[in-house]
């Protein structure tokens, strides 16, 4: 039987293309890195001071409006939004769980949409509005979802809770909290190792049925 799923390009063609690419990468990696690196790093490289190269990599300016406050920052391109929030802006409510987008502990809102801040580069969030767990309450008055999590005991250890609450608020705003099944599906990106799921669902259902604007 003819297999139409098989790709028609001959292997030899791919091999040639690929080998030449790899060889070229090998030969040119060093030159390229130096050519693209700012002057102090070039100097450091020339002196074989590898540790200095990392320091000399250019930091980039980033503007973030976090919970209504504007921050003008200078960050390494590799810094994630999560690390910037925790280490540079000292907002440690957003938690680092798996750091690989699998647990949801780092969930924040970017321009109103929930995202995993551990997989977001800070530099790519520049100019955007960020809301973290610290930004939900109005002064001493807790957000309805925070109240509901307290009332329904929607946590045990509490580590996943900031992410759960940020996701829960988004879940209602998106219109995905119309049944227990739908809530469970749309909260599946937030893992709770203590297993507080039934109480989390109860909290969300109460806020949803209360009809408050969240």
């Amino acid at each position: 039987m003819e297999n139409k799923n098989a790709h028609s390009k001959p292997e030899s063609e791919l091999e040639e293309k690929d080998n030449s690419r790899r060889n070229f990468l090998k030969q040119s990696a060093f030159i390229t890195a130096v050519a693209l690196t700012p002057a102090p790093a070039v100097k450091a490289a020339a002196m074989h001071l590898d540790e200095k190269i990392a320091e000399a990599f250019e930091k980039v300016p980033v503007k973030l409006e976090v919970n209504g406050v504007m921050h003008n920052l200078s960050v390494e391109p590799r810094a994630t939004l999560l690390d910037i929030l925790r280490e540079q802006i000292d907002l440690t409510g957003t938690k680092k769980g798996c750091d690989h987008g699998q647990c949801g502990a780092c969930t924040v809102h970017v321009d109103g949409h929930r995202v995993n801040s551990c997989l977001t580069l800070g530099v790519m969030a520049s100019g955007k509005k960020i809301t973290t767990i610290e930004g939900l309450a109005k002064g001493e008055e807790l957000h309805p979802m925070q109240e509901a999590f307290l009332k329904h005991d929607g946590f045990q250890c509490g580590y996943c809770t900031p992410g759960q609450i940020m996701s829960a608020v988004a879940c209602i705003r998106e219109g995905h909290a119309n049944s227990e099944t739908e809530i469970r599906e749309y909260m599946s990106g937030n893992i709770c190792r203590c297993g507080a799921y039934p109480n989390i669902v109860n909290a969300i259902q109460e806020v949803k049925s209360g009809g408050q604007i969240v």
């Binding site: 039987m1 297999n3 139409k4 799923n5 098989a6 790709h7 028609s8 390009k9 292997e11 791919l14 091999e15 293309k17 690929d18 690419r21 070229f24 990468l25 040119s28 990696a29 390229t32 890195a33 693209l36 690196t37 190269i53 990392a54 990599f57 250019e58 980039v60 390494e76 391109p77 590799r78 994630t80 750091d99 690989h100 987008g101 949801g104 969930t107 949409h113 929930r114 995202v115 995993n116 997989l119 977001t120 580069l121 530099v123 790519m124 996701s167 988004a170 879940c171 998106e174 995905h176 469970r184 599906e185 749309y186 599946s188 990106g189 937030n190």
Partner: protein, 326 residues
């Protein structure tokens, strides 16, 4: 994560210029790339951020729908035209990842995501995809999640996407830009089988980028279903998934589209099973026969033999849902 230089692309042309240089990768949603960079599976010297390019549009065309490469997975899955005319794509997208990740991930990035084979991710293990010539850890290892179609001894990884299974079934076309202009290829020819070069996932050249996908109008909207079988009910990669679209008239199947996920290095179209179903009456019996035809050539490894039973059962079940039998 290794340091890299960050560039924000202002135009498609500047993106193409930048990616033609070695060590340079495009970043959009970043949900897979940042993960791979944190684990040291990939370490680009330069990242070109293309999220400011005007490629987010979802636009009706004369004969179907155009979806820009930067349209978010969440946006596409909730788009009114997609839900109404191509519900299969909406269902496939919603079966993938989590709401947070779908808010970040783009259509083009979804196509470019790498396998989640644990031997590919673990840099202490051999992997021909990550490091050509080192061998395949999965072949004699824990290969429960791995492929049963189109494998070679160099790689038995599967493509992890749900969206791509939907787009393969929907006869989508991929629009690709390169320095010489644009080219269009059938979606089913975008991803490739591992062959002798498992490190090459697809047919996109190093100096090309995905612009978007086109989906042609069809008659499958009423009878579509995406069935994903996984270890937990949500937020897990597929053991087996099936995208089914049927064009049914008075109980007779006029046309069928079937594709499977979790079984091959690429979204696996079931061309022979589709042909078999044309002209058949809607019945569980026809669906079971089609599923048997689809399984021809399947080959299991030590821990994934269960897929030889699970896959045909999933095909049958997906067809029953699509046709309204259940």
């Amino acid at each position: 994560m290794k340091q890299f230089q960050y560039l924000r692309a202002a135009t498609q042309q500047s993106t193409l210029d930048a990616i033609s240089k070695p060590g340079t990768k495009i970043i959009a949603g970043g949900t897979n790339l940042i993960d791979l960079m944190k684990r040291g599976v990939t370490a680009p010297d330069k990242l070109v951020d293309i999220t400011h390019l005007p490629l987010k549009n979802i636009t009706p065309t004369k004969s179907g729908l155009h979806i820009g490469a930067l349209a978010l997975n969440s946006t596409v899955s909730e788009n009114g035209i997609v839900v109404q005319k191509f519900p299969l794509l909406s269902m496939a997208l919603k079966a993938g990842a989590s709401p947070q990740l779908r808010n970040m991930a783009t259509v083009g990035g979804n196509m470019m995501q790498r396998t989640r084979c644990s031997y590919f991710y673990d840099t202490t293990m051999p992997c021909n995809k990550r490091e050509p010539g080192t061998g395949c850890g999965a072949m004699g290892g824990l290969n429960r999640m791995h492929a049963i179609f189109g494998t070679r001894d160099k790689c038995i990884a599967v493509h992890p996407s749900d969206m791509c299974v939907g787009l393969a079934a929907l006869d989508a076309t991929v629009i690709i830009a390169g320095k010489k202009g644009e080219r269009r290829i059938p979606f089913t020819e975008f991803h490739r089988l591992p062959g002798e070069h498992p490190d090459v996932d697809n047919t996109l050249a190093k100096d090309e980028m995905i612009i978007g996908v086109d989906i042609p109008d069809n008659n499958f909207a009423k009878n579509s279903y995406y069935l994903k079988v996984r270890d937990r009910q949500s937020y897990a990669f597929a053991l087996v998934s099936v995208a089914a679209g049927l064009d049914i008239s008075n109980g007779t199947i006029r046309q069928a589209r079937l594709a499977m996920g979790g079984v091959a290095h690429k979204p696996w179209r079931l061309f022979e099973a589709e042909k078999f179903l044309v002209g058949k009456a809607v019945s569980e019996d026809s669906f079971k026969q089609a599923a048997q035809i689809a399984m021809q050539g399947a080959k299991a490894y030590e821990y994934n033999a269960f897929k030889l039973k699970l896959a045909p059962a999933t095909i049958t079940e997906a067809l029953k849902h699509a046709s309204g039998l259940v």
